[in-house]
Amino acid sequence: MRERHRGTPALFGQRLIQIPLVLLVVSVLVFWLIQVVPGDPGRNALGPYATADQVREWNAARGLDGSIVERYATWFGGFVTGDWGTSIVYGEPVLGLILGRLANSVVLGLFAFIILVPLAIGLGAFQARREGSRTDRAFTVGLMSLASVPEFVVGVLLLIVFALIFPILPIQSGDAVGTGLLPQLRAMTLPAITLALGYVSVLARMTRAGVIETTGSQYYRTAVIKGLPGGAIFARHVARNALIPTVSLLGVYLGALLAGSAVVETLFGYPGLGELLVTATQKKDVFVLVAGVMVTGAISLLALLVTDIVFTMVDPRVRFTRGD
């Protein structure tokens, strides 16, 4: 066991060096790309009836008039020292704005994850138990159809059914944020289900394949012949082996869920990071956008790292060596 995990700290250290480098490149790209997108933040803020001079002054007052290199250097210096600047759109400190929205996205993402994991694994295991049956085929068709429907459509359909025809859940999820656990859970139900449904089919499919492969293995047959109880076989032999590919996917999905979904948050009016980044992109709020992308990037990369570490614990065959 000790031998097996010997490479893990090295992997951890290596990733901790790689992650800031990746984020640095991302920040440069975002900073540069937002200049390419048409539009001017001053014009966006002051509208079409402001004069060109007013727009220039507005930009200058917010430090948007220097060269791109100069502006990036100023921003980067502030970012690494904890001064993430002020949103040029909202006039609020970027750090507080991002962290507040991130917290909302994390809560929603975790809720979606809690719905997703048992649902997908349960469906996958259920299908594997009935491999080749009509039920299995029906679920396969259903899940593949679901995978092909965009989140936006799923969300609108859920809203029509559960907020309009049977008005038990609200349209606007943002109203309930910060009003208490139950109202917030209720408001997050539809966006969380929409998010979860977006990932469930691939995850269930992968679980199904893993379970079928495991239950066809010799060690599974040996365990059955030995007369081990069903629960013990599933926990010790099937789940542990069948879920290895699923775990790697779960890590990626967790990172994506926690970082916020622009589509779902915008549709349900949920004040998360994804929705904030949509507005920041539209309004060229460069400081919010670049900081937000850094945060979402960091979350995704850290989720991948955690996935790799969990991998080593779940799969005895995985060993990391230098250079992995």
């Binding site: 001017d40 014009r43 803020a45 007013q54 727009v55 002054e57 759109v89 929205r101 609108v156 060229k284």
Partner: protein, 516 residues
């Protein structure tokens, strides 16, 4: 047997879990709807949808509807307009021009207070207008006063003197415009959300970026008895589909009646409310470039448009036919003696004389429907070959000398309602910042200057006729329709809004109530 028992146990557990979930959701739903019902029973709150304003909330610089309403519900202007276009006294009770028309004396309401308890004085009015019109002002409202307002001064605590650069008989109308809510003299720009000060009908209770804002009635408002609402709530929707569903589900009280909404909602379940004219969608023709440097080409285009078709297909019938002048139908005086342009294909053929006009109409995304209908109409007329270029707002209004909205051969830009002479100074005057047609005619500028300087009705009528005739004949801008705002409103709302539904001439909820 043990297998059957285990299966039954599992089924029972599953049923229990589903039941618990259902009860839990139902409890949440009941609790929440109970709260909502309770809230509705005890509080009369008008709920409006907005988009994320995406800009700082400062009454002096807010530029779009969503940002303006957040501060506008709290601040109070000197005057506003009612739905018929008449001036409605707010913080000002009287306004008179000097004989030479160069000084306007505005008397302030006695007893009006800001929500911090301090009285509204002439010093506050002076400070507000100086902030709007200062050389370094970033207020979009400044453009309305450029070339008109020279200085503002207090004459005692209750009188303000506006000195003009040139006589301007419609000056009180400018006081109803953007960013003109009165703020205390010691107001620091950029600090409004820290201390949402104003003398308006409501107090800002909470504003959360991306979520919305809640307001309660200002008990110290000068006309508090007329405000029957307990409050107003603004809810942010990032998606039009969600906004529509929210309206259908009763989460908001009003939604703009667009073609999408009309196609989805059973309008008979709601009140259709409308107020006065709110904008024109002008077709700007660059008169310095072919093909529209030729007046006959401009005229042919004007006669080729099916204006009623545009009104039916773009405005859902909620607009009036215009005749290529900038005199809104509720403005006095109305120009007389011009033939009303309607689609006349014989005249088009005569003007084109066998030519084909090939050009591209450049528009911003929000005017896409207008552009598509226009393109379709024109391409059905012999002698027209029209392409459409749809740009994002950011591309269309991009800054720089080559910005599309001020340079493309044909553009469509919407202009909020203004007085006729303002349109002349902003879009018909040689060298004006927004003269997208690159048009120049000293005669219209001189006539407009005379029009602004006189209050004598017969003289104003004659000048209006002459100005309109030049607009109609020279055609740098085709004005096919005067648009009105129209919305669907929940039947629980009672009363009629005093002013425009989109509040561009002032926020006024007097007389609006909620059925208990």
């Amino acid at each position: 047997m043990p297998h059957i028992r285990a299966r039954r146990l599992r089924a029972a557990l599953a049923a229990l879990a589903v039941g618990a979930l259902a009860v839990g959701l139902a409890a949440c739903a009941t609790g929440a709807s109970g709260d909502a019902a309770g809230g509705e029973a005890s509080e009369a709150v008008y709920r409006l949808p907005i988009s994320d304003p995406g800009s700082e909330i400062d009454p002096l610089t807010v530029a779009d509807y969503n940002a303006q309403i957040i501060s506008g519900l709290v601040t109070e202007p000197l005057v506003s307009l009612d739905a018929a276009g008449e001036l409605n006294p707010r913080l000002a009770t009287d306004w008179t021009a000097s004989e030479d028309g160069l000084t306007w004396t505005v008397t302030l309401r006695d007893g009006a207070e800001f929500n911090d308890g301090s009285p509204v004085t002439s010093a506050d009015v002076v400070a507000t207008f100086e902030a709007i019109t200062a050389d370094d002002s970033q207020s979009p409202g400044r453009s309305a006063f450029d070339g008109i307002l020279d200085s503002v001064a207090a004459d005692g605590d209750e009188t303000v003197l506006f000195t003009l650069v040139r006589p301007f008989s419609d000056f009180p109308l400018l006081l109803t415009g953007t960013n003109t809510g009165i703020l205390p003299a010691d107001y620091e720009p950029g600090t409004w959300l820290d201390n949402p000060v104003g003398a308006g009908q409501f107090l800002l209770e909470d504003y959360t970026v991306g979520k919305g804002a809640t307001y309660v009635k200002n008990p110290d408002y000068w006309n508090a008895d007329a405000i029957e609402l307990d409050g107003v709530e603004l809810k942010v929707y990032g998606d039009t589909q969600a906004e529509l569903l929210a309206f259908q589900a009763g989460e908001i009280d009003r939604i703009g009646l667009t073609s999408d909404v009309a196609a989805t909602v059973d309008a008979s379940k709601y009140d259709v409310i409308s107020s006065g004219y709110n904008k024109i969608d002008g077709i700007f023709l660059n008169v310095t470039e072919a093909p529209f440097d030729d007046p006959t080409a401009r005229e042919a285009l004007a006669w080729a448009i099916d204006r009623q078709g545009l009104i039916d297909d773009v405005y859902e019938g909620n607009a009036d036919i215009a005749n290529d002048t900038t005199f809104f139908p509720d403005y006095d005086p109305q120009p007389a003696g011009l033939e009303q342009r309607e689609q006349d294909l014989d005249r088009v053929a005569q003007l084109l004389a066998g030519r084909t006009l090939s050009f591209t109409v450049t528009i911003a995304q929000e005017n896409q429907l207008f552009g598509e209908v226009l393109q379709q109409q024109l391409n059905e007329v012999p002698g027209f070959d029209v392409q459409l270029e749809v740009l994002t707002s950011e591309q269309y209004y991009a800054d720089g000398d080559s910005t599309p909205w001020l340079n493309a051969p044909v553009t469509v830009t919407n202009w909020a309602k203004r007085v006729p002479s303002q349109y002349v100074s902003l879009i018909y005057t040689a060298g004006a910042a927004w003269n997208a047609s690159h048009y120049a005619n000293p005669e219209i500028e001189e006539l407009t200057s005379q029009f602004d300087a006189t209050t004598e009705p017969a003289e104003r009528q004659k000048l209006a006729d002459d100005i309109a005739e030049i607009q109609w004949t020279d055609l740098p801008v085709i004005v096919p329709a005067f648009s009105k705002a129209q919305s669907l409103q929940d039947k629980r709302v009672q009363g009629e809004f005093a002013g425009a539904l989109d509040f561009y001439t002032g926020y006024d909820f007097a007389g609006i109530s909620i059925a208990r």
